[in-house]
């Protein structure tokens, strides 16, 4: 266990000044700023929300929808590719894998680093939402009385994160196994397109398709929400373990 934590601290140090780290912070900021700008420029009557609904909840819904359907899966694909590229680029495997630590630790630490970055993204998303919502409340007269749906937002962001595990494991496995970043990104982009098509169609298959799971986990009235979160989380952990086992038995040619 101590080897694992030692490798994990090294993995943390490795993230300094990386694109993966910047992406994890900037992607959620981008979507919040975009949504914030839209809300800022349009009048209360244009919002389209039925009268009586909480404008802060509507604001959150807009952010979360785009985040779960598009940005979260895409970030997972990019982060997996970037983390793997750190090792592929400098041919660093030949050094890492010749160190006297179990190989599974090395790969498990990579997984945890990816999960850590996506968690950071979700935390940034919630924090940026709070800031933006506070400003909107101050500047928009119709919003001043709205109550803060913070627990709901934190809960949804957390569930979405859990449901991302499965697709993250798939992306990590592909990115670590192939030197080129193309297979990982190709799978990520194609799956994203499939996600965008089958999710609104309301097919049951969407509940099993890994790229649909974050959106299903965050949707407030989805009947298969528990199934989506459980499948995403447990499937992700199981697949992650299988992938670590597979990678640690691979030769480094």
């Amino acid at each position: 266990m101590s080897s694992f934590f030692r490798v994990l601290t090294a993995e943390g140090l490795k993230l300094r000044r990386t694109l993966a780290f910047r992406l994890a912070v900037l992607a959620p900021l981008f979507i919040v700023i975009l949504q914030f700008t839209i809300e800022l420029v349009r009048g209360d009557e244009e919002s389209g929300a039925p009268p009586g609904t909480n404008p802060l909840m509507g604001f959150a819904q807009g952010i979360l929808t785009f985040w779960t359907i598009v940005l979260l899966p895409f970030c997972a694909a990019l982060i997996a590719a970037l983390l793997a590229a750190l090792e592929h680029q400098g041919e660093n495997w030949k050094h890492l894998l010749a160190l006297p630590v179990p190989r599974t630790c090395i790969f498990a630490a990579k997984w945890i680093a990816a999960v850590g970055l996506l968690s950071l993204s979700s935390a940034v998303l919630v924090a940026a939402y709070c800031l933006a919502a506070g400003i909107l409340q101050a500047v928009k007269p119709g919003w001043s009385a709205a109550s803060w749906p913070l627990p709901t937002i934190i809960q949804r962001a957390f569930l979405g994160l859990c449901a991302t595990s499965l697709l993250l494991s798939i992306q990590m496995w592909i990115s670590l196994r192939w030197r080129s970043f193309i297979p990982g990104l190709a799978v990520g982009v194609v799956s994203l397109v499939v996600n965008i098509i089958i999710l609104p169609a309301g097919m049951f298959a969407a509940n099993l398709f890994p790229w649909c799971l974050p959106a299903i986990a965050m949707a407030p009235h989805s009947p298969h929400r528990v199934l989506g979160v459980a499948w995403g989380l447990l499937g992700g952990v199981a697949l992650g373990m299988i992938a670590c086992w597979d990678l640690s038995h691979q030769e480094h040619q």
Binding site: E91, L97, P102, H252
Partner: protein, 308 residues
């Protein structure tokens, strides 16, 4: 176990598809020596090193590190091994010090080891710069610092002086000698350049097309003394005279004879015989047979199917 070789391989064989990269390799690297592992491009040096580091699995045969069988599962044996395979494995976005700190963390070493390694490789002044801005020589040195971080008993270096200028290469040699002498480290050094190895190594292994064609102390490789070159005023008479005295003589052009005379005393005897026979000896020297020549001869012999 104390006398066991640092590295021993038995019948080590590795194929890539139908191509055999290594065939029944039997290396024996004694403890405390600098072992030069020589071979032309594609001979199988890197493959051997990847096998020694557990990056590849052998298809046959076994590896022993300090007498202990090294297998895919016995990664703990690598605690005694520091390695630099081809180009150093570095993270260009991190500083030199951070690169060392990464490995230090993984190995669970005290923080002081980073400074010691930097000092040994002369990188203290540049340790705060990101590796992206390092020159090739600095990267190679950082690679050595990385290999040396855990103070291993065995250093495995694959073409470490690749891309270094002559001054850099000399610096490397001095560094390796210092490590071997001051810290009793066994160094396994691969190269396709004889000049790189012949001045540091005390043991040599020569590999060609996956097979070992020579292994032993460097002196043994040079054991067969080159002939004595004798320049005289009357070569015909001199040759006749020496042959009569039982020497093996070949007449060269330019009034020179080449005489098979192994020892220093033999050289003196040849000289005396000639002078006593009234021949004027203008020059007496040994033709330096470089390791390069020997190497080419060994490889040619191996290719022709001959043994050494």
């Amino acid at each position: 176990m104390t006398d066991s070789p640092a590295i021993e391989t038995r019948e080590l064989t590795r194929r890539f598809g139908s191509r055999t990269a290594l065939q029944s390799l039997a290396l024996c690297v004694p403890q405390g020596c600098i072992y030069g592992f020589l071979g032309p491009n594609g001979a199988g040096k890197t493959t051997t090193i990847r096998l020694l580091l557990g990056l590849l699995r052998p298809h046959q045969g076994s590896i022993f590190l300090y007498g202990e069988p090294f297998t895919w599962e016995r990664r703990d044996l690598l605690r005694d091994v520091g390695a630099l395979v081809e180009t150093p494995s570095l993270y260009p976005h991190l500083t030199g010090r951070e690169n060392l700190d990464l490995t230090r963390r993984i190995l669970g070493l005290p923080i002081a080891r980073v400074a010691e390694s930097l000092e040994l490789t002369g990188l203290c002044a540049d340790a705060g710069r990101v590796v992206r801005t390092y020159s090739l020589g600095m990267r190679q040195r950082l690679g050595l610092a990385l290999a040396w971080l855990g103070k291993p008993r065995l250093l495995i270096l694959d073409e470490p002086a690749n891309g270094l200028d002559p001054a850099g290469t000399r610096e490397w040699r001095a560094l390796l000698r210092q490590l071997a002498k001051e810290h009793q480290v066994t160094v396994f050094l691969s190269s396709h350049l004889l000049s790189e190895v012949e001045h540091v190594a005390d043991h040599i292994g020569v590999i060609n097309r996956g097979q070992l064609v020579f292994q032993g102390e460097i002196g043994n490789l040079r054991g067969c003394q080159p002939p004595l070159i004798v320049r005289v005023d009357r070569p015909h008479e001199a040759a006749h005279l020496l042959r009569a005295g039982g020497w093996r003589v070949v007449e060269d052009s330019n009034h020179a004879l080449s005489v098979q005379a192994a020892s220093e005393t033999d050289a003196a005897l040849v000289n005396r015989a000639l002078v006593m026979g009234g021949i004027h000896v203008c020059e007496l020297c040994r033709q330096e047979d470089t390791l390069e020549d020997l190497f080419l001869r060994l490889v040619a012999q191996a290719d022709a199917g001959g043994a050494i």
